[in-house]
């Protein structure tokens, strides 16, 4: 009827086209590719055959994910309760340190774990020396190694959701339970734990999905019978097998995406009363204090070690680490080389550049999508929402594989070009993977924005565009910035999809350079690049804090 309705419809069509072209259609292409070999039945039946490699990989992935949920769940929940319900010395410092794993770059981080606990690692060597045994008897290898990495990198999913729930929880509920005659233990079992169920389930779903998608940890700890490794190993040689595995993994991920969405919609426990911050119990008694102190110290030490290892290695001489617990010679050479040779600097420039291109596109898509969904009541919204979040749920390996299949030949969506082997395939993959991050953070900002503000601006004479530019954007700036920085962090560290896609040496980004250096044994050079990733992430986190501080002036309507 009016001009504005027409343009909303046009935007919807444009969004659908983009999502179809770069998200859904590549997935469909992978499915078609899987049928080009032996056909539907022959390709998918083995998943149900206990003795097939496909079934073994699927069981492997599910089993590791299940164990990861348990381990990360126990660690994350305990840490959250410990640091948020009790007060003790240096609690605030631990609270900051406990989120360190988020800053761990994917590839170099896992390598650091490997160098600390794996074959011929620091700890096995130390223990071997102390007990006069063979170091490899003390090494953590195989599935145990993968689990260690998963636990220590994924427990923040539990920690963050449980801590947020504890911070919101209402003292009066606990007091009510006591006043009704419940003992301390009864209160925990019947009141506090049920309230923690939603955040724990949310953490479990995220951990399970991330474990299914995990590629680097199984790769380094040489666990080959998981689905991600199977896809990567067979991508070139047995494309129809790899395609089928990718499709099955995608289906599992989509199921999880739908479960998570449904669960989030159903989460009901909210605080009813206002009031000040929660009171924390101050721990009294020397013993309890010492115990808490030691456990907090130990757990944070474990968390700091991988990052400490990266920085230590960055100052070590290449090939200087043979059979000692730690490298034996140290030098500034890695850093000097980095800042003096343009070749050495190129990966950093590539990573930043590719991430920046991807983020620019992702902002356009993510913000438009978030705004359209928040402000229209169209039936297509749910479909667009799911398509938008799909790449977030898909493992990086699957996203990369889909792109390989879809853009190995000219397509409308690549303007008639073959994208595989060109510079643009990597930013495209980043764009697809990171749009959901910006979409989500913008959506949650928009959800807090009172629609009456826009109506007020319009009634005061502002055109739609003026009101968007001068009222909506300034108020959701924090949300957009949060998403941008998250996406940027992920882009600088990206390894899983990049390793399958990157075109040539000239265009290799950070993670690939690190991988290459590790493969030829130049651990010092690799760690130096890894340290740069950590520093970039930290810089971005600090920046994010500042933006958030400035944008919290806003909402109190």
């Amino acid at each position: 009827m009016s001009a504005r309705k027409l343009s909303t419809a046009e935007i919807m069509v444009a969004l659908s086209l983009v999502l179809w072209g770069y998200v859904v259609q590549p997935l469909v292409a992978t499915f078609q590719r899987s049928l080009e070999g032996k056909g539907l039945l022959a390709e998918y039946a083995p998943f149900f055959d206990f003795h097939s490699v496909q079934n073994e990989a699927m069981r492997g992935s599910l089993w590791i994910s299940f164990l990861s949920v348990i381990c990360a769940g126990v660690v994350g929940t305990l840490l959250a309760v410990l640091l948020n319900r009790w007060d003790f010395r240096f609690r605030r410092i631990y609270q900051a340190l406990v989120l360190l794993p988020i800053a761990l770059p994917p590839l170099m981080g896992v390598k650091a774990f490997y160098l600390l606990y794996g074959k011929a690692g620091t700890f096995p060597q130390l223990l071997g020396g102390i007990f006069h045994g063979n170091p490899s008897d003390f090494a953590i290898t195989g599935i145990a190694g993968v689990l260690l990495v998963h636990t220590l990198t994924m427990y923040p999913y539990f920690y963050l959701s449980v801590a947020a729930s504890l911070a919101q929880s209402d003292d009066s509920l606990e007091e009510a339970a006591y006043s009704l005659g419940a003992s301390r233990i009864q209160t925990w079992i019947r009141v506090l734990l049920p309230m923690l169920t939603p955040p724990i389930v949310a953490g479990a779903l995220l951990t399970f999905m991330s474990s299914m998608a995990s590629y680097t940890a199984p790769l380094l700890f040489e666990v080959n019978n998981v689905m991600t490794v199977q896809i990567a190993n067979n991508a070139a040689t047995q494309a129809s097998l790899a395609s089928a595995v990718a499709v099955v993994l995608a289906i599992i991920s989509v199921i999880f995406l739908i479960v998570i969405r449904g669960y989030e919609a159903r989460r009901v426990y909210r605080t009813q009363s206002k009031g000040g911050a929660r009171r924390r119990q101050r721990v009294s008694g020397a013993w309890a204090n010492v115990m808490l102190f030691i456990s907090a110290l130990l757990s944070t030490l474990v968390l700091i070690l991988p990052i400490a290892m990266i920085f230590l290695l960055a100052f070590s001489k290449n090939y200087s680490w043979r059979t000692a617990p730690l490298p034996s010679e140290y030098t500034m050479e890695n850093w000097i080389r980095l800042f003096s040779l343009s070749d050495a600097w190129a990966p950093i420039r590539n990573s930043v550049e590719m991430s920046a291109i991807a983020v620019a596109g992702a902002v356009l898509l993510g913000v438009t999508c978030a705004y359209v969904i928040a402000r229209t009541k169209s039936r297509g919204n749910a479909v667009i929402d799911i398509a938008m979040m799909l790449p977030w749920a898909l493992p990086g390996t699957v996203v990369a594989f889909n792109l390989i299949v879809a853009f190995a030949r000219p397509s409308v969506f690549s303007f008639g070009q073959v994208l595989i082997g060109t510079y643009w395939i990597v930013p495209l993959a980043y764009f697809i993977r990171f749009s959901p991050l910006i979409f989500r953070s913008t959506s949650s900002s928009l959800a807090q924005l009172d629609p009456a503000l826009e109506e007020a601006a319009r009634s005061l004479g502002a055109s739609w565009w003026t009101s968007f530019w001068r009222v909506v954007l300034p108020l959701v700036r924090g949300g957009i910035a949060g998403g941008v920085l998250l996406a940027f962090v992920a882009g600088v560290g990206e390894f899983v999809a990049t390793i399958m896609l990157f075109p040539k040496l000239k265009y290799r980004p950070l993670s690939i350079a690190i991988n290459d250096e590790l493969n030829v044994g130049r651990w010092g050079t690799a760690a130096c690049l890894g340290a740069i990733q950590v520093l970039l992430v930290l810089a971005v986190v600090i920046l994010m804090r500042r933006v958030e501080d400035r944008s919290t002036i806003a909402h109190n309507t």
């Binding site: 009634s459 005061l460 004479g461 502002a462 108020l475 806003a554 109190n556």
Partner: protein, 355 residues
């Protein structure tokens, strides 16, 4: 100057159904006009359609001769005050007020001048540089009003502007709104569910229920001559008693209640459309304050509930005509709860409506 006309305006929502049902209204220039009704009666939807925030399903909206039915809100020249004020949290008080002038691209001298004047009008001249979240609810309300008035709108639309204020502030703000209206002479359309606000402030009131207009009249007529049973029950403490017409002589009509008592009233004391042939069913409306305790009253009952109201007592009497609300002034000796009482009604206070 401008007259606002609504012609057969309707709005249909997928979920809620027909919220506004063929509403016709003519709001005169300079009027303080109130849309009054319970929540869900469609009054806010009408306001939002006038503002251009909703599109009507059918019907027309005219500002003077100009058809604005589908004009975007920014081309209507209206000032809108929201229930929750909708102040821009990222702008200072002065920048909030300046917003409408800035988008009109006025010179900065002119903007400064008009913003200062607008803030003075609502007694906030000192808070121009304050952040919006530093203000109290009452102050935010006044900023919202200044922001709407500063653009010199053709119509000032207020959507339940007092509902988030406490009782004392509400009184003060009412006085201020009247003063602002008198001074600026801007046609004001006020939406509320509070009959006291409506009666106290308006030049005319439209009472709505279920998307339809039940009555448009000045406050005195609304109170004393309700057009329908709904209006009678929505405004004030009112009793609706069913009765049957037994005699019509000249301009006097005699009705009989369920307890066989009879009452003769003037035929003028009825809403339009009430049929007065013998045997016709009518509803007699009588305000709580017009029912008196009297030893020889024709209505018998027992006093079942007493509430002290400051100026007197608000009571409920269980009578042979159903539960009746009465008001007893302090000067009258009040029987205690459970005692038998007799009530009389003065014929002049009765108003007949359709059942």
């Amino acid at each position: 100057m401008t007259v606002l006309t609504l012609e057969a305006l309707s709005k249909f929502f997928q979920r809620a159904g027909l919220v506004v049902d063929a509403v016709n209204l003519r709001i005169e220039d300079g009027e303080f006009f109130t849309l009054l009704g319970p929540s869900g009666c469609g009054k806010s939807t009408i306001l939002r359609m006038i503002a251009g925030l909703e599109e009507p399903t059918s019907g027309r909206i005219l500002f003077g001769d100009r058809d604005v039915t589908f004009a975007p809100p920014n081309q209507r020249g209206i000032g809108l005050v929201f229930q929750n004020y909708a102040l821009f949290p990222h702008l200072t008080v002065a920048r909030n007020v300046a917003f409408g002038l800035e988008v009109r691209k006025l010179s900065s001298d002119e903007i400064t001048k008009r913003v200062t004047a607008a803030l003075a009008q609502v007694q906030l001249e000192k808070l121009g540089q304050a952040r919006v979240d530093q203000l109290s609810g009452g102050q935010q309300q006044r900023v919202a009003l200044a922001r709407a008035l500063v653009i010199r709108p053709q119509f000032l639309l207020l959507d339940e502007p007092l509902s988030n204020l406490d009782a004392m502030l509400r009184g003060e703000t009412r006085t201020m709104l009247r003063a602002v209206h008198n001074e600026s002479e801007v046609t004001t359309i006020y939406v509320t569910h509070d009959q006291e606000e409506a009666l106290g402030m308006s030049d005319r009131i439209a009472v709505l229920s279920g998307g339809r207009i039940h009555q448009v009249a000045d406050p005195k007529d609304i109170y004393e001559r309700p057009a329908t049973r709904f209006v009678a029950s929505f405004i004030g403490r009112n009793n609706a008693i069913e009765a049957t017409v037994i005699r019509l002589q000249n301009d006097m009509v005699t009705i009989q209640f369920a307890n066989r008592s009879e009452l003769t009233v003037n035929t003028k004391q009825r809403a339009p459309g009430v049929e007065l042939a013998a045997g016709a069913k009518v509803v007699a409306c009588i305000r709580a304050e017009s029912l008196c305790l009297s030893a020889n009253g024709q209505i018998d009952g027992t006093l079942s509930d007493i509430e002290y109201s400051g100026s007197g007592f608000a009571c409920i009497v269980k009578s042979n005509l159903g539960n009746l609300k009465i008001e007893v002034p302090m000067s009258v000796q009040l029987p205690s709860r459970g005692e038998t009482v007799h009530l009389s009604m003065s014929a002049a206070a009765v108003h007949l409506v359709q059942p």
